[in-house]
Each structure stands twice: as C-alpha cells, then as structure tokens.
C-alpha cells in the first residue's frame, strides 16, 4: 500500500491530541508537503486519509531574548555554527477513515504522501468514478509532493438530483472564475454520462467580452495540454455555441463585442415583443408604480387581451400582438370614453390607472430599445429545440441593469417552465451567471430576479435546472442562494472577504493560501469531500475575452444601410452589396428591420432573395382627396403621465 517511505509521523500530546477528525504530524524541514496536501496514515488495522490544513515551525529556543543574547545584540553578527533543532508540525483534517466504523482517533503511526489511488480514496471519488455506470466529471488535478492526480466531481451532486448548483468566488482578474467555469463546462460536455440524459448550457455574458469567443481555439502551452491529458479532458473549444445579443438602440447594429465581420454572422439578434415582456412586467415596473389597481389592469390585459381577439365597449375588435397594437387599444379606450362621456372608468379600471399603465408599458420599448420592439417582431432562443451539449450565450454586457434583469428573468423563467413541461429539448440546463451579487444581493429590496434565483437554487435540481454562479464576494450574495450550491469553488480571495463569518470554518493557513492562490488553482468543496481540496485546472481551450478581442477586434457601428448589407452578407457570402442597397432603397427602416429579423430566423440558402420577399413589394404613396373631411380633434384630455 505504501508507495514510498514515510514522510512524517503522527504525534499526540495532551495539549495536541489526535482526534477522529483532526490530528498532528511532523515532517523533515525539507518536506514537499504543504497546506492542502493529502496524506495517508497507515496503522496495522486502519488507514486514515487527511488533508493538511495548518502548519507551524518552531525550534527549541525558549525565549526570543536568548537569541538576542547569543548574537550579542547584533543581528548581522556571525551566525551560530549549529542550527537549532527545528520542527515542522502539521495539522491535518481527516478526509476518510478505512474502515469507516467504528469512528476512532487517528492512530499514532507513519504518515505517507498520497498516491493517485489515495487521492481517489480520500475524496471518495472511487464511489462514483468506479461505479457502473460512472458519474465522474473531472474538475482539475490535485498537485502536491510531486504527484498529479485527477479530481472529479459527482454528476449526481453537481447537476442533480442529489444536490446541484455550483458557486465560485474570487477576486476579479486573479481568481480565473470564468475560465474555471469554461473548463468545467467542457468537462461536463465530454463526460456527462449518457444514462443521465442530455445537457445544455445557457451563459449570460454580463461584462465585456468574457464569453464571446467560446467557439474559437486558444493557443495552449505544452503544460496546459499536458494537464488536459492528465485530467482526461480533451483540449478543444466548444463545438456548438449559439450567440444571442440585442440590438443597439439604432435597431441594426448588434449590441455585442463579437461584432468582427468574421464572427458577426454567428450572432443572432435577441428581440422581444409585447407577449414576451408583459408576463415580466414586475421586473420592469417600479414597485411604487404597480399598486393593486395597476396590477389588476395588467392581469386583465395579460389574461384577456394580449394575443386574443378582444372587443372593446365601442364595437372595435383588437388583436393585440405588439406594443403598437396595445397603444392602439389604449387610444381606442380613451376615445370611447371621451366620445360617450361615460365618466372616468372603464371596466372598473379608473382612467388614471389606465393612463398610468399605458404610459409605463409603452415606455418599456423605449427603455429597452434594441431588445423590445414596438412592432411585434420576435427573435428568441430556440426554446423547445435546445440541443444536447450546446451552449447558448446571451450577450447582455452592453445593456443597462433593467434590460439585463428582464433578459435574465425571462430566459430563466422560460427554461424552468419548459423543463417542467419537459419540452425544452434537453433534460438538464446549466445557467451560468456572473456577478451574482448584482442579481441576488444579500441586502437590498426583494426583487423579482432574486426571488427567481432563490427558487432555482432551492428547487431547480428536481427539474434539471442548474445554476452555475460567480461573484467576487460571496458574503454579498443572498445566503440561501449560495448556501444551496452543492459545490463551491474558490479562486484567489480577498483577505477582507475571508475575514467575514462565512469563512470561519477555514483554518488561518487555508485562508492565507486562498489569498495567495495562483491563477488556475482553486479550492473546491463538494458533498463527497469532507474537507476543501485544492485543485489545478488548465487554461481552457477556447479564447478568453481579451485574446478574442485582439484576434477579432470588434467592428465600429455602421450606418443603417451598411449594417443591413453586412448582416445579409454574413449570412450569404454571395450577396451583392449593390443589390441589397437597391432593395432597401426608399423603404421604411422598421420594415427593413422586420424583414432582416425574419431572414435571420429562417437562415435560408439565398438570404437576399428571402429578405427581398419578406420585405414585400413597394407600396407607392397616393394623393389624398383634399376635400375629404379631416378627423374631428378630441376635446382636451388631461394626461398627467404624458411625457
């Protein structure tokens, strides 16, 4: 069982006893062990696996004053000819005992550096890596004392149903949170066991170009390739990645940093209309605005009006599918009330409430311009047709907080509904969201987004909806959201953060190690690991944001006409710019945008021909008979909410 000579020996005194959960051992001063190293204690009838959580060194110097006297007060004086006897005393936390019962104090026996098999035993990986069928998902490599051993997580505990969710904390730029998630997603896609069904990921790119180049290969060093091999994850970028981004307010340039001409064709617009947005009015409307009366009107509109044939009280039939249709309905109501003089309410809703709701709703398309359109055109994620091992990146980095909240809420809610109905297209969806402290803060108002995240974290695992989240400061995130993450990962941490109560269980040495972790090294807590374990992961095989920007610099925004040409050309290389310009010449911009959206959604072989057909024939303007009476202007209507 012993792969090498002992590296230490367990010691116990009355003041420092060996317990069933913690023990102490000493090593030579030039040992290769350190904080986080896994060790094995071998006694005749018992093996104990532990992880080093603390260490100290001291000599037989009884008082610092003795050193001063010996040096005659001169630190620079001649050194002592004999080095004082020194001890390296380590504290280890027990990971596993074999046999597990009866639970007993650690025997006072020899200590060995862990072998690869020991690491597997210590972390209980043998239970799921060697089960039939196996459910192990490589997360990185344990490295200590010259050993490199793969460490895996249990799919049943990472993606449900036993437990689920992953949360990663660490300071920006040094903790490599995004890289860790990318690597883990790659590992999941390569190792997720078939018997557990299908899996896809939805990633929200909330800052810069972080997730904009997941399909582009990175140049990896020999060391990174070696580490990939050792861990058992093939070094390749994601094969199936779909990008979604809303438009900028101009309605034609996509609001993403993945706008290089070579990549722009692979980004699909994210455009929603009234139907998509109305159900999430709570996200968009200020709580102060939405009193019980306004809420009742909104419910009425959602249940009885939108997407239905609705007959108002004046004989007009409305089919409200867009904000424009909704505005038409409101105008009709106001007109009807004015003309019939029926007082100040319509179907129990006070006219002031109607005006307020109208104003707030119609304002949404202005506030979320680029994402929400007035005209009902929609370009959405392929809910119902999600593919196995595919990543759907939604780039909301360029949006304001309100727009980000809306996108996040609607996408996650729809995923949840679809998973409940089992018609998403896959059995499991991993939702990755960075800056979790923004969406589920520990303090502040109880927002719709936070409530939804709580719901996912507490019930998502039964549905296959798994939250991978990241933030700088775990202490600033709602406790129940992070607390429900079965797997917790820490990169380089801030010392102030480590001083918060959430880290009290960590030893001071472990905290110091966390505060100085190099890039690519993480501390992992997982239900099977009784103690946190440090692992190293390679640089992911896909381009990171800054590299991607260097290789694929984003294009500057272009005028409307040029943007249409580029986007059609990106879909169909044969498209002639002059032909496209001819087609859109003199056409209304909203018509052109609508035709472009439809073309992008269908992605036909001949994009220009399809676009031309979608645009329809030119409708020539006609002279209107000037003798025809004009519409009688309305009497003054006070609208305190009109902006």
């Amino acid at each position: 069982m012993s792969a090498g000579p002992p590296v230490g020996r367990v010691v116990a005194t009355e003041a420092l006893p060996a317990g069933p959960h913690q023990f102490h051992f000493w090593t030579a001063t030039d040992t290769t062990l350190g904080i986080g190293a896994i060790i094995r204690v071998d006694a005749a009838d018992r093996s104990v696996y532990g992880v080093v959580v603390d260490g100290s060194a001291y000599s037989d110097l009884a008082s610092p004053l003795h050193d001063v006297i010996a040096a005659e007060g001169d630190p620079a004086g001649a050194g002592a000819p004999t080095r004082r006897t020194e001890i390296r005393l380590w504290t280890a936390a027990v990971l596993r005992q074999e046999p597990e019962e009866p639970v007993q104090p650690v025997p006072l026996a020899d200590v060995f550096a862990a072998t690869e098999a020991d690491v597997e035993m210590a972390l209980r990986i043998d239970g799921y890596a060697r089960s039939e069928p196996p459910t192990a998902l490589p997360v990185g490599a344990y490295r200590a004392a010259g050993l490199r051993a793969p460490v895996s997580l249990d799919a049943d505990f990472l993606l449900g149903p036993e437990s689920a969710h992953l949360n990663i904390s660490g300071v920006s730029g040094l903790a490599t949170k995004t890289s860790a998630v990318q690597f883990l997603l790659g590992s999941i896609f390569q190792h997720f066991p078939e018997h557990k069904g299908t899996v896809a990921a939805v990633c929200f790119n909330v800052k810069g170009p972080d997730l904009c180049f997941l399909d582009q290969p990175a140049d990896l060093s020999h060391e990174d390739l070696e580490l990939h091999r050792a861990i058992g994850v093939e070094a390749k970028p994601f094969e199936r990645v779909s990008y979604y981004a809303p438009f900028k307010p101009d309605g034609v340039n996509l609001n993403t940093l993945r706008s290089h001409p070579d990549l722009l064709g692979s980004v699909r617009p994210l455009v929603w209309g009234l139907r998509e947005v109305l159900a999430f009015h709570e996200v968009l409307l200020n709580r102060d605005d939405i009193d019980a009366k306004a809420d009742a009107l909104l419910d009425f509109l959602t249940d009885r009006v939108v997407e239905k044939e609705f007959r108002d009280d004046w004989g007009n039939t409305h089919e409200v599918k867009s904000f424009a249709d909704l505005d038409q309905l409101f105008r009709s109501i106001f007109n009807g009330l004015e003309q019939t003089g029926r007082g100040d309410s319509w179907r129990t809703h006070h006219v002031a409430t109607i005006r307020k709701v109208r104003n707030r709703l119609l304002n949404i398309s202005t506030r979320c311009k680029g994402l929400v359109t007035d005209d009902g055109t929609v370009s959405d994620l392929p809910f119902g047709e999600f593919e196995d091992r595919a990543i759907y990146v939604i780039d909301i980095a360029g949006m304001d907080q309100l727009g980000q909240d809306l996108v996040f809420t609607r996408v996650v809610s729809t995923l949840r509904e679809r998973l409940e109905r089992q018609d998403l297209g896959v059995d499991h969806v991993i939702v990755f969201v960075d800056e979790l402290n923004k969406y589920a803060p520990a303090d502040g108002p109880d927002t719709y987004v936070r409530k939804m995240l709580l719901d996912i974290s507490e019930r998502g695992r039964y549905l296959g909806l798994v939250l991978f989240s990241a933030q700088q400061f775990r202490s600033q995130v709602h406790r129940r959201v992070v607390g429900n993450a079965g797997t917790t990962v820490y990169g380089r941490m801030d010392m102030d953060e480590l001083a918060t109560p959430g880290y009290q269980v960590l030893s001071p040495a472990t905290k110091i190690k966390l505060a100085t972790l190099p890039k690519g090294e993480l501390m992992v807590r997982h239900p099977h690991f009784t103690q946190p374990v440090f692992v190293r992961f390679p640089r992911p095989a896909m381009l990171n944001g800054p590299e991607g920007l260097k290789r694929f610099p984003p294009s500057a925004d272009v005028p409307f006409e040029e943007a249409i040409v580029r986007q059609l050309a990106a879909m169909d290389r044969r498209a002639s710019p002059s032909r496209i310009k001819d087609v859109i010449a003199g056409r209304r911009e909203e018509d052109v945008r609508r035709a472009l959206l439809v073309t992008r959604r269908v992605r036909p072989d001949d994009a220009v021909a399809y676009f031309t057909a979608a645009l329809g024939p030119v409708v020539r303007s006609q002279e209107i008979d000037s003798t025809r009476p004009a519409t009688t202007p309305l009497r003054s209507v006070e609208d305190p909410y009109e902006s």
Partner: protein, 308 residues
C-alpha cells in the same frame, strides 16, 4: 553595600539568596605544571570563529531502585552515549551506545535469587564487595557509581568507534578526556570541555588570574596533575562575563592530550569554543558553560531513552 564593594576594589556578584550549604567537593585540590608559560598569563582569543565540521560527545545515565532482596538494593540502570557530527550546521548521529542493566551486590545474593534476576533479561553488573555493616544510602550510592561507570564506558566506546572511522575529525567531549585511552594518532583532535570546577589545580596569583578571566580570554596552558589518571594539557576559557554573577560563571576548562599541538592550537581551539556560545542553551541552568551541540547530544540521548 554594592557601592562599598566596588569602592573596596571588589567585583559584584549576582547576590542570589541561598539557604542551604553546598556540599564540599570530594577532591578540591590537585596540582598543575605550567606548560605554555612560567606562570599563568591571560591571553585574548577574540574574535570567535565557528568550526563547521566537528563532532560532539556526551553521555547520560539514570537509575531507579527496583526493590530489595533482603537488605541488598536492586538498582536498574540506564547508560547511553552518542557522538553527533555537525556538517553545514546540522547535527547527525554518528555513534551511539546504550545499555540497560541491573546493578546488584551479587556476592550477597543466594544462587536462586541471582537466577531469578538473570531471568529478567537485563545484564547483571556487580556492585562489588562492601563492608559487612549495611547502610542503605551507601549501598545505593555504590550501585549508582556502577551506573556512572557504565556511562563512562559507553562514552569511551562511542569515542573509539567514531575516531576509528574519522581520526582526523575534531571531537569535542563533554567533560574530562583524562580517562580516554586513545592512541595519540587518534586522539590528536580530541577536546575535553569541562564545566565543573570542583577540583582546583592552580593557586595563588595563577588561580586569581584564572578565576577572574575576562570574557573572551584564556589562560596559558598547564598540565593537570595526574594522580591515577593520565596527564592532560588544559587551560581556562571565559565564555561570558562573570561580573555580577560569580567567579565560575561562563568559565570552562579545555583539555587536550599532551603535545606541542595542544599549546600551539590553544588560541584557535578557544576561538572555536567561543563561537559555540550561540545558540544559547538557556533556559538550562548551565547555559553559561553548556554549549548547544553538547546539549543536543544530551537531548538526542534523552529522546532515545524514551523509546528504549
């Protein structure tokens, strides 16, 4: 009082209160023959100069009274000695001897009792004949002397063992080397470091010079009175200032086997020993005279003793 002492040309002591009388030494006086000078002179030896490669020898002993057979005490003894060699400031064991035994006055035991003790699995060492008249304290004292002799034997054994392997290595022994009967070719780098001064070899101005040596100084070399023991060359060396302590504070006596080299190398050897003031062996009560490597040999032997 202190001012008066200084005014009288005296030196201050520590002024430590004592309530018990010291027992007088068994052999308080012996003779000396000046070797390096006609009378004792004081020679400065600073600066200290560390000796990297050197070995250190020490021994330990203990005993316990396990019982009596009649009035004969049965003493269980343990004696051990070791040499630790220093290289690159690290001490490593090079020779170790240890023995656990019974010390009994065998003549006074019935054969049956003797057989029973032999079956205990420990070596039996005879305390030797004594007066007919019994005295329990003296009987135990005689048994303890056997333990001490076994320790001395162990020390000489490890010395021989080490010098056989490394005759050119400096070996610093805790205590006198007078009884180390090594051949001159092996003992030429043997150094004894004596911490106790029960026997005084000098007298008059020579003694005055020796006992008031300033720190970092040595006396000239003299030959120690032989008696039953072999002659050795020796000199006093002051490691720490004695003022405000007592006359023997920080005072060691260095021994070498007789020869010209002992005199020629006295200053150099003194410098090496002076360098051994660091690390300090405090809080050991003998810290002013006990050098760290010797203390480490003792610590090593005590640790071994626990495991024995």
């Amino acid at each position: 009082m202190r001012e008066a002492l200084l005014e009288a040309g005296g030196a201050l002591a520590a002024g430590t209160s004592r309530s018990r009388l010291h027992l007088p030494p068994a052999n308080p006086f012996a003779t000396a023959r000046q070797v390096e000078a006609s009378s004792t002179r004081i020679i400065p030896v600073e600066p200290a100069e560390p000796l990297d490669s050197a070995a250190f020898l020490d021994g330990i002993q203990r005993y316990s009274i396990e019982g009596w057979i009649g009035l004969v005490p049965v003493v269980r003894g343990y004696a051990a000695a070791a040499v630790l060699q220093r290289k690159a400031a690290e001490l490593k064991p090079r020779a170790v001897e240890r023995e656990e035994f019974l010390a009994v006055e065998l003549d006074r035991l019935e054969p049956k009792a003797r057989d029973a003790l032999e079956s205990a699995g420990l070596a039996l060492h005879d305390v030797g004949p004594s007066d007919e008249r019994r005295h329990p304290i003296l009987d135990i004292h005689r048994a303890a002397q056997v333990v001490e002799r076994r320790r001395e034997l162990a020390e000489r054994a490890v010395c021989s063992s080490f010098l056989r392997e490394q005759p050119d290595s400096w070996l610093i022994v805790d205590g006198s080397i007078a009884d180390y009967a090594e051949s001159p070719d092996r003992a030429h780098r043997l150094v004894g470091l004596v911490k106790s001064h029960e026997t005084q070899f000098l007298e008059g101005p020579d003694l005055q010079a020796a006992l008031t040596l300033p720190a970092g100084h040595r006396t000239t070399v003299f030959a120690r009175g032989a008696g039953k023991r072999a002659t050795v060359f020796t000199w006093y060396l002051r490691l720490w200032p004695w003022e405000e302590h007592d006359l023997l504070h920080g005072l060691v006596r260095v021994e070498r086997k007789p020869g010209d080299a002992a005199v020629e190398e006295a200053t150099q050897v003194s410098r090496w020993i002076l360098a051994e003031r660091a690390p300090l062996t405090a809080p050991d009560g003998r810290w002013d005279r006990l050098v760290y490597p010797i203390q480490q040999v003792e610590t090593y032997l005590r640790a071994q003793e626990v495991e024995a």
